[in-house]
């Protein structure tokens, strides 16, 4: 011990000095220009997940670019459950005026904090609760889903498409339904098989789900999850894939037929602008391709021109308001006619949809009482 003691003392001294230096209240007076609007983003995954969170982060960067008076911050990898409320609260305490919470599970914590900070604007993505100062926002991703379904339906040879899906919540069920409606429209024999990963972001599980599909004869893998892992698995097997969240071509260039993508930046800019102008009110934002918030990414080189033409034609119809994927007749998995010819699924029913259309192979875990 004799040799160690001086060392111990020195180390402890350094440690103490370090701690005190760390605690010293030397708030650097970084006065910002008065107009600065501080905007915070909370992500459920890493900001470079190649999918969902990255799409939001690109929206954040877009916002910074568009509005010079905006200053942004973000926290990534925030678990749903107890910790996220703290993170949201911290941003409020730090003087942030607009807070975007970008995962479904952040809904109730956002609501809780919103109650305590009436001066802060909260925007929650993909949920259904709102309050005086908390709005929610989402996009009609089912439109690009439908278009991607058209592409996949025409491109498949085995008529077996695998859909890697996260949770059996309406948002995802809607995506699968729209995708299948598209695929069925151009290819009545097609089957869309579903595997639930029960996670937004789990690259390992996503890849193994894709491999399961491929082993069973799938030649196209559609992803509804937050990472490109499933598409990379498809590329490795020499098959095709349909990306989600952002253009995934760079992750699997040989496989990606197209991707259904988000342009969150447009909405973020709109909200920040409104808050800045004092015109913001809490609402439920749910726009589609016509607003630009959702879109279909450029096609891969393997997609033939006639396929592109067909899809572009449909896209134009949707943009003109002449067509909606959820127009009747729609049959469900059991062959029952759910939506009659000439009828259309209402927004309310779309938001809560819990049944699969004809052509989907898979089940939704039993609904609640």
């Amino acid at each position: 011990m004799k040799h160690i003691r001086p060392l111990v003392v020195i180390l402890l001294l350094i440690a103490l000095v370090g701690v005190f230096a760390g605690c010293a209240p030397k708030e650097t007076p970084e006065e910002k220009p008065e107009e600065t609007l501080k905007v915070a983003f909370i992500y459920v995954g890493p900001k470079n997940d190649g999918g969902w969170s990255q799409a939001h982060d690109e929206g954040r960067l877009y916002l910074e670019q568009q509005l010079p008076y905006v200053e942004t911050a973000y926290t990534e990898n925030v678990p749903e459950g107890a910790p996220c409320e703290k993170v949201i609260r911290d941003y409020c305490n730090e003087g942030y005026k607009v807070i975007f919470t970008t995962s479904f599970g952040f809904m109730d914590p956002t609501l809780n904090v919103a109650e305590d900070y009436p001066d802060v604007v909260f925007e929650h993505c993909s949920g259904f609760k709102t309050s005086e100062n908390m709005g929610n926002y989402f996009g009609r991703m089912y439109e690009p889903d439908y278009l991607a379904g058209l592409v996949a339906g025409m491109m498949t040879e085995s008529n077996y498409i695998g859909f890697v899906a996260p949770f059996s919540i309406p948002e995802v069920v809607r995506e699968i339904d729209a995708f299948t409606i598209g695929a069925k429209e151009v290819n009545p024999d097609v089957e869309v098989h579903v595997i639930w990963t029960n996670s937004w972001f789990d690259p390992v599980l996503e890849a193994s789900a894709a491999e399961t599909f491929l082993a069973n004869g799938a030649d196209i893998i559609a992803s509804g999850v937050d990472s490109p892992a499933a598409l990379q698995a498809a590329e490795k097997a020499g098959k095709y894939g349909v990306g989600y969240d952002m253009d995934m071509t760079s992750f699997a260039p040989a496989a990606v037929l197209t991707s259904r993508i988000w342009h969150w930046g447009l909405y973020y800019t709109q909200v920040a602008q409104e808050v800045h102008d004092g015109t913001w009110t809490a609402g439920e934002y749910w726009d589609g391709m016509e607003a630009g918030i959702v879109d279909l990414a450029p096609y891969g080189p393997m997609v033939p021109q006639e396929v592109q033409d067909y899809v572009e034609n449909r896209k134009q119809m949707i943009l003109n308001g002449d067509y909606d994927p959820f127009m009747g007749p729609i049959y469900d998995q059991s062959g029952t006619l759910r939506v009659k010819e000439g009828e259309e699924v209402s927004d309310g029913d779309k938001l809560g949809i819990q049944w699969f259309v004809d052509g989907v192979v898979g089940t939704i875990p039993e609904g609640g009482s």
Binding site: M1, H3, V8, L11, L12, I14, A15, G18, V19, A21, G22, C23, A40, P46, A73, Y74, T75, E76, N77, V78, P79, E80, G81, A82, P83, E85, K86, V87, R89, D90, Y91, N93, E94, F104, G105, D108, D116, G127, F128, F167, S168, I169, P170, V173, N198, L351, G352, I353, Q354, P365, E366, G367, G368, S369
Partner: protein, 355 residues
């Protein structure tokens, strides 16, 4: 060259000094990693300390994380003391939360709050205890290794929770999302401090620490589990009923984990959902070990871990460092703490190599 020599016994001074030095070295190593992101480590650590301990509010958030860690690790200590490797606090936490939620969701909102909360806490304890008794029974009657059984039961618990959330307990008003109905006020644990999320669970934790401490140090049960933990054959020779003690220890261990799960729901989340942070069940294993299986020390270690988590988010916010940095710091500290264990076992001496 460096020589490693076995130590016969460890002095108290070393027992205190080694972890402190280890933590410090861990911070230095973490600091080097931070340097790679072109950030001053001192600023990062400042943000960490600030985010965890600088104000009533930040400290309260540290405590919010510490509450489940205290409850679970205290329970784990009971099992670990008798060499029963309960890796299943994760599952016991979930089942406790489910049991407690049952009453929160099915009792009328008019029920007196103290009554409902008492029922819920007892149900949480019961749920965790029952889940803990399964591996105890498997071990006692069929010699099934508890590491494996407790670990696998974690997955079963998680799938039970998922089943309930996608099935019978899903709130019809949640648009199909896997959430239960929110808990009414009478099912929410009271907050200890306004404008914070610190709830009554903290008091439960402190009481649990005191009880377990006395249980281990002073009672017949404590003596018996220590004997079993140190030497099972001697216990059998001394006529100690090992099976009975496994059951009691696992009931306590699981019960406290179950109470932690219930407290997290009733005190913080206020509804049942899929993500209820059962991962604390694993963190608590580390807490228990770093505390050398002493519940009082574990309480403080839990607060430090709570600070690490709470402050970790602050780092991201204050300084734009990648999230991985927080994990890197935590791992570096852990790595050096484990390395410090070697120092407890061996004496290291420096010698000029003359041979």
């Amino acid at each position: 060259m460096l020589l490693f020599e076995k130590r016969e016994n460890v002095s108290t001074k070393l027992k205190v000094a080694i972890p402190l030095i280890s933590v410090f070295l861990g911070l230095v190593a973490g600091g080097i990693a931070i340097l790679f992101t072109r950030t001053n480590p001192l600023i990062v650590y400042k943000a960490l300390v600030k985010g965890a301990f600088s104000s009533v509010y930040t400290f309260s958030e540290t405590l919010v994380v510490a509450i489940p860690l205290i409850l679970i690790s205290t329970g784990l200590i009971v099992a670990f003391k008798m060499n029963f490797w309960n890796i299943g606090a994760y599952g016991q936490y979930i089942i406790g939360a489910i049991f407690g939620s049952f009453f929160a969701l099915s009792m009328p909102a008019t029920m007196p709050r103290p009554l409902l909360l008492t029922i819920m806490c007892l149900a949480g304890i019961l749920g965790g205890a029952l889940w803990g008794l399964i591996p105890a029974a498997l071990k006692a009657f069929w010699e099934v290794n508890e590491v494996i059984s407790t670990l696998l039961l974690n997955y079963i618990a998680l799938y039970i929770l998922k089943y309930l959330m996608y099935g019978p307990w899903r709130n019809p008003a949640s648009h199909g999302f896997p959430l239960s109905k929110p808990f009414e006020l009478n099912a929410q644990l009271p907050r200890l401090l306004v404008h914070t999320r610190v709830h009554l669970g903290l008091i439960f934790g402190i009481i649990a620490v005191i009880i377990v401490y006395i249980l281990i140090k002073k009672t017949k049960f404590g003596y018996e589990i220590r004997v079993i933990g140190e030497n099972k054959r001697a216990a059998r020779y001394g006529g100690i009923n090992i099976t009975k003690n496994i059951f009691i220890a696992m009931a306590i261990s699981g019960g406290l984990a179950g109470l932690a799960g219930l407290a997290q729901l009733s005190g913080v989340i206020h509804m049942l959902q899929i993500e209820i942070n059962p991962g604390y069940g694993y963190t608590a294993i580390i807490v228990a070990w770093l505390a050398s299986l002493n519940p009082i020390i574990a309480m403080f270690v839990a607060v430090i871990f709570g600070g690490l988590e709470a402050g970790g988010y602050q780092i991201q916010m204050a300084i734009r460092v990648p999230f991985g940095i927080v994990g890197t710091i935590e791992s570096a500290v852990l790595f050096f703490l484990l390395g410090g264990e070697i120092l407890k076992k061996y004496r290291i001496r420096l010698r000029r190599n003359t041979s």
